[in-house]
Symmetry: C2
Subunit: 404 residues, 2 copies
């Protein structure tokens, strides 16, 4: 039984004890007045873990953060928006190293305790002169999480933050997080940055396992347009500031911790899908009755990522044939006669037969900002949930005007 | 050395000797006045081959055509638009059987010599009463290919037809074809119907091999939106009406035949990509220098299918970072330092380094209706070409308003 409680608050990453954050406008964006350089700092050393892009080409900050995470320790994260520092070769890597060095100097830490992330346009070098000037002026505070969350946004329209609280052994623990990402979101962490913090003490192996499990049920189950960026980064820092014994398998509170991390990740992932470029609706695709969990995951993600399903949802059109087509090409075991399909709770296809339904009423029922699609494959007990968003003309506008 | 010659003509499938076609309006479409029921007929029996959807759920006409193709023979094809007869179970299968029976009766053929194809809305039964009334009234003619090609269109804006002619052993041979498909086009024959005819005599195994090779270099290399339909069908009928010895490996003319089939398929595939729903530009993606041919195919298709690349092309935005991102997630072996990239002939990224270029001039150079992207992976000799189209707000409009 979990006592976790989700609250979406203004100060995600600084809700856990001992974390400070801040941001400044360094002038890296086209709209130079917005914050674009941010710091997250823990007052004490942290156990840390990360997951990164699956792309064959990894941006400089990813390569550097992987290196600095090799010892499972970190104490701060420096992030910039406006420029991804990707496809920039050896010079780009030296720029990321300098960013870490500047942050280490500002925070009086070792360079190897700094993690770096970048997001924005690819193929351009960072303007290091601007970063050299701006970074030392960032002021950190215990309520700086909101400013941090806003500084890392690109085409996001709202900051994404979430917190979960749980109690164990008489102590209260927090998991906080924020994320950015609104285009190119897809299974395997596509152009997404997410940062989690916790004041629980956690052993490294358990922290890594909890993060991986949470990502599998959240960030890996959202899809916007199937693209993957060289910059995707998910980090968690655990400083143990709330005290108590280190969490690991079997220790009191460890299950609550794992669930709290998963809940924060699901909240952030849903927030990203909902705020995807041009999106007007969140689509939740639940697949049950699959032959295996892997089949369920594949089917749910394929439906959530189908441009035809996404366009139909945008048009309030319960075009369930497109859902079946997506399921049938997902690679999952599918038998037409065993398959049932629900659109916003209404059964439209039952064990291989189309059912009559009131098209106008069903279309009207999907006019809100969430559409639920449920597929029962009728073959086993595998289940999974994926999230996506509708495909709108606004998506096309945003992505055809991004650099020019 | 090939003597094949491609000409896109008005009478694709009836250009080869001995083929007749015709169509009628049966009233199956919403706009009831347009032709929607079509027949293709050979005056003599044909060797026949086909490729079908890879979807786990296959529409009734696909199941029936597979069955009737089992003996490698056929003499006619009956096709309807307006209703795909998919997800219709055993009753739908009986409807497809009746369609074949009606055609067989009209043409005085055995039922097993009729192939059937359907396209249109899924999840609805065919209106057999209308088909029973209309089918017998179709009149066939030697110049009916154009009417046939138009009758099978759905959201296509133009009919797609092509013909290739070659000479061997003192005889002139023709390969003709037509296709429909403008949404859901993707590797593995997604919602696409294509029909090829030839007056060359061809052995069954060689016909099947030629069709598969042609599809691999054409229909399997186009991508519009990644969806796959339960109805995809590619058929070829060879009636041998031009005389001469049966073509097979090693026989004079067999290579020319194979190339003629490939050229017709490439023309039809490019026509489909160009006419894709809402598209304003054809995108040609050429990948060279890949470690293997498979790598080249994967990389080319991933770039051609990336919504971000497609949106950038629509906006005349040479956003090459998106091409690199697509290549890097394609599964192909990629090394940043070995990779070069050309956008409309201009090198923008050379062996891992971004090159300076005139953004305005390059954007202006892509304002026509074809954009060429070339990626040199610098790792081997694998090469492939894929075709796609830009992603436009018109695509979204068409697909959000399809059934409601």
């Amino acid at each position: 039984m979990t006592e976790s409680l989700i609250t979406t608050v203004d100060a995600g990453v600084t809700t856990p004890l001992g974390f400070l954050a801040g941001a400044v406008s360094a002038g890296l964006r086209k709209r130079a007045s917005r914050d674009d350089l941010a710091l997250l700092f823990s007052e004490s050393p942290c156990v840390a873990a990360g997951l990164f892009t699956s792309s064959a080409i990894q941006a400089a900050p990813v390569v550097l953060s992987r290196r600095n995470l090799a010892d499972g320790k970190a104490q701060a994260v420096v992030v910039n928006a406006g420029c991804a520092n990707a496809y920039t070769g050896a010079e780009g890597y030296r720029d990321s190293e300098e960013m870490a060095r500047l942050a280490a100097s500002r925070l009086r830490l070792a360079e190897s305790d700094i993690l770096v992330a970048s997001t924005g346009v690819t193929g351009h070098r960072l303007d290091m002169e601007k970063i050299r000037t701006a970074l030392p002026s960032i002021s950190l505070s215990r309520d700086g999480g909101d400013r941090f969350a806003r500084a890392i946004m690109t085409t996001d329209t709202v900051p994404k933050q979430a917190t979960a609280t749980f109690a164990a052994d008489g102590r209260e623990y927090h998991v906080g997080g924020c994320a950015k990402g609104s285009g190119m979101i897809h299974p395997n962490l596509a152009t997404m940055l997410a940062f989690l913090t916790t004041d629980a003490p956690v052993e490294r192996v358990y922290l890594e396992k909890s993060l991986r499990r949470a990502a599998d049920a959240s960030f890996h189950m959202i899809t916007v347009d199937g693209d993957t960026s060289p910059n995707d980064t998910l980090l968690i820092l655990a400083n143990g500031a709330a005290g108590g014994p280190s969490l690991r398998d079997g220790v009191d509170g460890s299950t609550q911790f794992r669930e709290a991390v998963a809940q924060v990740c699901v909240e952030l992932a849903k927030g990203m899908a909902r705020d995807a470029e041009g999106a007007t609706k969140l689509i939740e695709v639940k697949v049950v009755g699959a032959k295996s969990a892997g089949d369920a995951r594949a089917a749910a993600r394929t439906v959530a990522g189908s441009p035809l399903v996404k366009s139909a949802v945008y048009g309030n059109d319960p075009n369930w044939g497109r859902v079946l087509a997506a399921v049938a090409r997902s690679g999952a075991a599918v038998e037409e006669e065993a398959t049932s399909l629900f659109w916003q709770g209404v059964c439209v296809f039952q064990r291989g037969r189309a059912l009559a339904y009131d098209e106008k009423a069903l279309s009207a029922a999907t006019k809100g900002d969430e559409v639920r699609i449920r597929v029962d494959l009728g073959l086993g007990s595998g289940r999974a949930v994926a999230w996506g968003c509708d495909l709108t003309d606004e998506y096309v506008r945003i992505n055809s005007e991004y650099t020019t």
